[in-house]
């Protein structure tokens, strides 16, 4: 229902000459680059299994605080 409503709104926006945002845009995956061979097709997830997570290789403990930036950028994707 939400999706249908969204498509309707996107359609109305387009009729008025405005772009809707990115959620429905086609993916950028494209053809596989050289030498890695085909990637398996995506299939809808079945049951969600919890994966156990091993400890990291030491990037958390005892590390300094992440630097703060003076200026925030808006580095959204190209």
């Amino acid at each position: 229902m939400n999706k249908i409503y969204r498509k309707l709104l996107a359609g109305c926006l387009a009729t008025l000459g405005f772009a809707a945002c990115t959620t429905e845009e086609p993916d950028l995956y494209g053809p596989m680059p050289v030498e890695y061979g085909p990637t398996p097709e995506y299939s809808e997830p079945k049951e969600v299994k919890q994966q156990s997570r091993s400890a990291s290789t030491g990037t958390i403990d005892g590390q300094a605080e992440a630097p703060q930036e003076d200026v925030q950028t808006t580095d959204e994707p190209a």
């Binding site: 959620t23 950028l28 995506y42 997570r53 630097p67 703060q68 808006t74």
Partner: protein, 354 residues
Amino acid sequence: MNLRKRIGQELAHQYYKTIEREHPLRQLFWECTLRCNVHCRHCGSDCKRVAGVPDMPGQDFLRVLDSVERRCNPHKVFVIITGGEPLVRDDLEEVCSEIYRRGFPWGLVTNGLYFTPERFESLRKAGMRSVALSLDGLEANHNWLRGHKDSFRMTSQAIDLLAKSDILFDCVTCVNRRNYSELPAIRDFLIAKGVKYWRIYTIFPMGRAKDDPDMRLSDQEFRGVFEFIRQTRREGHIHANYGCEGYLGPYEADVRDHFFHCQAGITTGSVMADGAIAACASIRSDYNQGNIYEDDFMDVWEHRYQPHRTFQWRRTGECRDCRHWRYCRGNGMHLRDNEGNNILCHMKRLGMKD
């Protein structure tokens, strides 16, 4: 604002609400390093060449993607590699090939200094799909801001490589007082180089930049940036966009493709260098929602992020009685400090708040 835009604004508002209800993950930033090869005046004063936080091992980020892949179509989640400067990592292509093999398209945010033809080729082979390249002026101003004498030359070379390729890319310019008057010349330079997309953002007055007279735009210049973008878009030779921050009232939909909407935590998630699970990589206040070394990324994505998906808590200070609240909702999340206060109101700077 004319009637067409008013209706468009309201439709967009309803449209964004449908997205907020579903919060589909569409962009995943990976802050793969805090190391950098330049020392920008507008970047963090503590962004050193060798930072205190070690680079995150690629395997740790790939485990995050395993979590994402179990619940999302990976082709629909765009991984954005950011830093620091990602190209300081020698294993970048190795990790990114694995990202691609898992079905995720990925793109790079870079300052271009290490973007040689050889590196470009190896990145392409690793499946790179887009590049955001910083360009902060013509030669003198760019090198001054980036603090490196070869920076402009290398960025210029990177533009040439990208313009000849099939990779989607944009140039990203941080406008400050020094390069403000150069904007038309930068535009002409980019058009001559064959650049199609140009993203412009304004310097954010905080920390060192706040007191630097070379950095801070006057209110008149601030407004001039939007007039410039509007004009450039009308001319149609290059597709200019203001960055995603800031509700802009009458400039909405004139200087950006979309009406304002902060996507942080709604379609955008981030894994920071220390493993923090954040919303947008531009957020520097502590709105982290977990850590990949303790939490499952998708569990966090699905069950936390309330500060990013709710808005009433942001209705404080000057936002409380603001007449633009409905469409602004307190500006972008990266403009909230740790106490929850908004630290920049674009409408106020434009002199249009009241």
